[in-house]
Amino acid sequence: MKSTSYSEKTLDHFRNPRNVGTLEGPDVAVGKVGNPVCGDLMYMYIRVKDDRIADIKFQTFGCGSAIATSSMTTELVLGMTLEEAMKVTRNDVADALQGLPPIKMHCSNLAADALHDAISAWREGRRGETPEPPRVGEFSSSCPVPVSSPPDIEGAEELLGKGVYRKVEEPRAFADKRVLIIDRGKPSVDAALALTQHTGRVIFMSPVKEFSSKDDPRTGLKRSDVKVIYEAEPLAVLGEGEVEKVRVHDLNENDEYDLFIDALVILEQADH
């Protein structure tokens, strides 16, 4: 079955999703699931009254079945008690949609999990915490924020001067290059912002989950052309005679992936 061989019911929920949006207030709890790196991210908002789901909304970044399962879940559980809603499974959602392509059962049928996360949040007293709209990199709440001492990056010494930089002295040398800058506090933020004048691709990689404080100099990156990757750190820089790619550790998913770049900036001074 093709990934897009969806049932009529699934297509209906994709085309006319029910209950899109957000909720706010002291009687609201939020559940999150997924990771945009994998192509899915869902937020499920529930308003609870007398132990029942009195209102429910969702936001979803994802494929057709991710959107349809989110919509279907909200329709299924509206009015249920929290105990009943906790028993709704991924399979129930898939059944209500007249089935999903097998390949989609696990990857994008996450809405029930987001709902259960919201109910858990409610039960644990995490209420009224309607989040700021998230950014790429702010994922599931269960992941501990890593305490960062700058890790050793394998291969960085060997490629020093061949695409690995310890300081940014001549920004024009970065013209049109894909530059990755590792979070080393304010100097690295300044370097990233300066480099956007010389190249269209500046990526800033930080182990933290979010730049929350307004006093944090890194917050300024949000309003710039710098692409920020949160909750990630470089494990190794690879290349034969010059930088070709970086092996990245995704701290949230505990997964690894390759990022192809031309230059890697690891400033000497860590400034925290």
Binding site: T4, F14, G39, C63, K222, D225, L259, F260
Partner: protein, 391 residues
Amino acid sequence: MPAQVYLDYQSSKPVDPLVVDAMHPWFTERFGNPSSLHQDGDEATEALERSRERVAQFIGAAKDEIIFTSGATESNNLAIIGYVTRNRRRGDHIIIAESEHISIQNITKSLEKQGFKVSRVGVDQYGRVSVEKLRRKVLDTTVLVSIGWASSEIGTIQPMQEMADMLHGRGIAFHSDAVAALGLLTIDMRKVPIDLLTLSSNDIYGPKGIGALYIRKNINIAPIMPGGGQERGLRSGSENMPAIVGMAFAAQIMASEMPQEVPRLAQYRDRLIEGVLGRIPQSHLNGHPSERLPNNAHFRFEAIEGESLLLSLKDKGIAVSTGSACSSKTLEPSHTLISCGLLHEEAHGSLEFTFGRWSKSTDVDRVLEVLPGIVERLRGMSPLYQKEVKL
């Protein structure tokens, strides 16, 4: 021909009805086997050689430099495996581009298991190989370099002439899968010193299941499929005469249409790129801005996922492709987009439009009419989207 707004010519093309007509007699009344010595056999032999001549002319090659195969995948296998196994005593090192199509990636992976060494030369953010970087990958043991002429996905054209000139005379064979460039770029083997070139029929509006491999004179390869010894012993199996005749006729039509067709498609492409980037905020062009196939426009849209875009366009009667993992068999995002330096979540939001022979100017109008609304609708329900004012 295509009923809907079909903008996925890189995935599949209709066979030109004139080509179908030309193929028809070769199924029924002219069914001879070129290996037979009677009248019917002679007729088939004549048609086979005439077809070979036409395909050769299409790329400026000599007739005996063309071998018919079952298509691009077989041609790639025959070129790469056939060459490196025949020439192994001279070395065991192969170079391909990091962005190469999965057909090539998987061939080299299987050769690695047999002890061959494979280097992958990186591409820039537009998917282009630099001649200098390629030169630095060359070793004394390098026997073959394989780099596609252009990317069927992101449309980026490689510096073929420069790479071929650099490799020429070093005792390294240069193979290129040229299917994405066929009918869109002029290919003249008298000018570019490439040794092995993969061709396919459907890419020039011929039938599927037929292709060819160009093998320059004095380049020796081994067959990969033992059998009756057809095609100079390099590709056994009775010749697929209707398909061969069809491919040759398709090449002939294409050669005469290219001078008008290429600028027409480029005009659609440019209008679509300008319209999309101008009307949809936080949209980007993937692939090279100028060194680009005339029929290809490849975008990515922040905060939305490609399969959702594709489905929404399908609902409006528009057929396109996406590099998103969610539409692939492996659930992995496009390797080509990742090799350009994109993050997975960026690759997920990609959408590819490819124009072809039956494309109309109104197809562009239709896309520009519906796409901004679709993007806005999907962003409206995406938690990743923020209408942020960039400083």
